[in-house]
Symmetry: C2
Subunit: 139 residues, 2 copies
DNA sequence: CCGAAGTCTACCTGTTTAGTAGGGTAGAAT
DNA sequence: ATTCTACCCTACTAAACAGGTAGACTTCGG
């Protein structure tokens, strides 16, 4: 399961995608509209800024905004950043790989199956972008 | 990611699948062969017994064994039992569903995408069984 | 009846999650 | 100069979860 933090991150990013090219958005505005605890959100946005997903502007008229075209930010990137590995096992993860003790990966049935699960998941989250989150929201 | 507990459960079940119809297997044997902390394993096996996956026999010549044909025990069942929800979001889970606050599921882009991820995962883990874990292990 | 096994309850320690509270600093607009 | 805003820091809590451990109890076979 994705953590609450990840869910908040996605909600905030969805909002910022909708406001893309409309200038900076206040943290407090996102917090209110999406019902996210303000201080918690502050930290999440900061983390996304450090990861170059977002950028910000200080002072009056300031706020947060997407640094890149939302159609170019893959969901997989966000999940790995905020939530961690996408794979179900460390020995199957591409970005967080860790060898499995006591197990020959070539002969491990579980390994083989989890590779398939990973690939099926990645096929989706590597293709979908922030733009896909927002598109449906306008009825 | 699957918890250590889930990984241990899968290792133990794989071992028991290999020994299927060979009579009860000692906890201590599984613990040694698969390198699982004994007392922790004890709890895991007990839980699997309560869930009717395993059965046990006390006294001399006792131990644990599969209650059902390993070809009939789906991996999805084990994951849900030991690890919890398979879906990435509560609002997308079939067995642990919870409504999402502040979000119309029909218009939520994230919801739509996570349904696809869930279905892609389930297509695999609902089809694969304990038998599939063991098959590959004999070279 | 004895001893080998599983059964059960409880406990423990550390980490992570999900926040809350508060305050001080820096940069930008007016 | 003032005010608005993000930035950044500390510190705290409360709960849940992870990953175990200890030890007494129960049963069953021989």
């Amino acid at each position: 399961m994705l953590s609450k933090k990840s869910q908040y991150a996605f909600k905030a990013l969805t909002y910022l995608t909708e406001k893309y090219r409309e200038g900076p958005v206040l943290i407090s505005e996102i917090s209110e509209k999406k019902n996210i605890p303000l201080k918690f959100l502050e930290n999440i946005l900061l983390e996304l800024k450090r990861a170059e997903i977002l950028d910000s502007k200080k002072g009056k008229g300031g706020g947060y905004f997407l640094k890149k075209d939302p159609a170019k930010v893959k969901l997989a990137t966000i999940i790995r950043l905020v939530n961690g590995p996408i794979a179900m096992l460390p020995c199957v993860s591409l970005y967080f790989y860790e060898r499995c003790s006591n197990c020959d990966e070539k002969r491990c049935g579980l390994h083989e199956i989890m590779v398939k699960v990973r690939d099926a998941t990645l096929a989706i989250v590597e293709k979908k972008t922030l733009q896909d989150l927002a598109d449906i929201e306008i009825p």
